[in-house]
């Protein structure tokens, strides 16, 4: 077995200009340059992308789903952030 394993990278691909980069999956590579080359071969064999980002997985900080309550619930009772909260007569147009 090798002395050191290749680290894990997360791969983000922009399918075409005008769209955001989207997470496509992950792969192992020795460095960023190799991660880009491997991502090309693994995730864009059929013209799926025009741009690739690679980020070493250990550099991503993720929220914990166990804390989803305090994290996301506060937004639930703030209905006044949505346009339908405001009562307007039906004959008001273009609003």
């Amino acid at each position: 077995m090798g002395t050191k394993n290749w680290p894990l990278w997360e791969i983000f691909v922009r399918s075409k200009n005008g769209l955001e980069h989207r997470h496509f999956g992950s792969l192992h590579a020795a460095d960023a340059e190799m991660a880009l080359e491997n991502a090309r071969d693994v995730y864009t064999r059929r013209n799926e992308g025009v741009s690739i980002w690679v980020v070493e997985s250990k550099n991503i900080t993720a929220s914990n789903p166990e804390h989803n309550g305090e994290m996301f619930e506060p937004a639930q009772d703030k209905v006044y952030r949505h346009p339908t909260f405001y009562d307007l007569p039906d004959d008001v147009k273009h609003m």
Binding site: G25, S26, V42, P65
Partner: protein, 318 residues
């Protein structure tokens, strides 16, 4: 956590799956769910990787450039599918190294179909047509399985897989419209691959130990027997178009069921191959482990180079 708390979490978990919610890697999950998924996803990944070997055998001997680029692309796809699946599996907290170790030591299984030899060019046709055909039937329902990373990997795999089957069928078609010898070659390939392809869909329902739990977790949407029947019903007409005969004297259309009846499958053969006594089990593992070991110095060199570049960058920054 107390036993009651765990039971509570498990009930909520099962309810989420019943509501068709997806489970993501960082979500709480029962240990059995994690282990079952590691087993199934890694077996699936291993099958893709070992699956490259029987076809790799024919790349250098493909009869035309058209066939050669197609076969190369197919084998490259299989490497890709293996990689998607390994990454999905790693999100469950197992490392790539351990997964490889399990394959190389024989602890993990892969699809037994890849332990059969590919002796003629027609086998490339039969594999694409039958083996990939059976794989598609297995895989399409998995696109909506409960574990998010597995479902996403399967969507990508299924999209790519349909070319595999079509290129195989085209090979068969060409041979069947060729000389009598070529047609004979196609028939011989069908004769050898038919029964192993039926076995590929897994043991019969009454012998399958994981079916019930797997159905609940949506790791399975149809039983093995249902999938096998679907495969037979859609493949027989395809054989008719080729003008080939399915090697099963008991195969007969059943008007009442709207399906084909078929003969007894030799499950002893299946279990022999699963247990390591198929025609090519040893050869496949030797090729796989050999490639891994011979590649070690390349992996080490790449890592050493990456570290050196990193050091150089840090020095320059000072």
């Amino acid at each position: 956590m107390s036993e009651e708390q765990i039971k509570n979490l498990e009930e909520q978990f099962e309810a989420r799956i019943a509501r068709d919610e997806k489970i993501e890697p960082k979500d709480w999950m029962p240990e059995k769910y994690r282990q079952t998924h590691i087993r199934q996803i890694s077996q699936h990944a291993h099958s893709e990787i070992v699956g490259m070997l029987p076809e790799g055998n024919w790349i250098t001997r493909a009869p035309s450039l058209r066939r050669k680029v197609a076969l190369l692309a197919k084998v490259q796809d299989e490497a890709g599918h293996g990689l998607y699946l390994y990454s999905a599996c790693e999100t469950l907290g197992i490392s790539r190294d351990v997964l490889y170790e399990q394959l190389h030591s024989g602890k993990a299984k892969y699809s037994s179909i890849f332990n059969y030899p590919t002796v003629t060019w027609a086998d490339m046709g039969a594999i694409g047509w039958l083996v990939d055909g059976a794989a598609i039937i297995n895989q399409v329902p998995l696109c909506s399985t409960s574990f998010g990373p597995y479902a996403r990997a399967m969507v990508r795999v299924c999209k790519e897989e349909s070319f595999h089957q079509r290129q195989g069928y085209e090979i068969m078609l060409k041979l069947c419209n060729g000389t009598p010898e070529q047609k004979e070659m196609a028939q011989d390939a069908l004769n050898r691959w038919w029964w192993p392809s039926l076995m590929m869909l897994g043991p019969t329902d009454d012998a399958s130990v994981h079916t019930e739990q797997s159905m609940k977790w949506k790791l399975k949407r149809k039983t093995n027997d249902e999938l096998r029947q679907q495969f037979i019903d859609q493949t027989v007409p395809q054989a008719d178009i080729l003008g080939l005969t399915i090697p099963d004297p008991d195969l007969k259309w059943n008007e009442e069921r709207g399906s084909y009846d078929f003969g007894e499958i030799d499950w002893d053969e299946f279990w022999q191959v699963v247990k390591g006594h198929g025609p090519c089990n040893k050869e496949r593992m030797k090729a796989r482990v050999g490639a891994w070991e011979r590649g070690e110095w390349v992996r080490d060199a790449a890592m050493a180079y990456a570290e050196k570049q990193q050091e150089r960058k840090e020095k320059q920054a000072v």
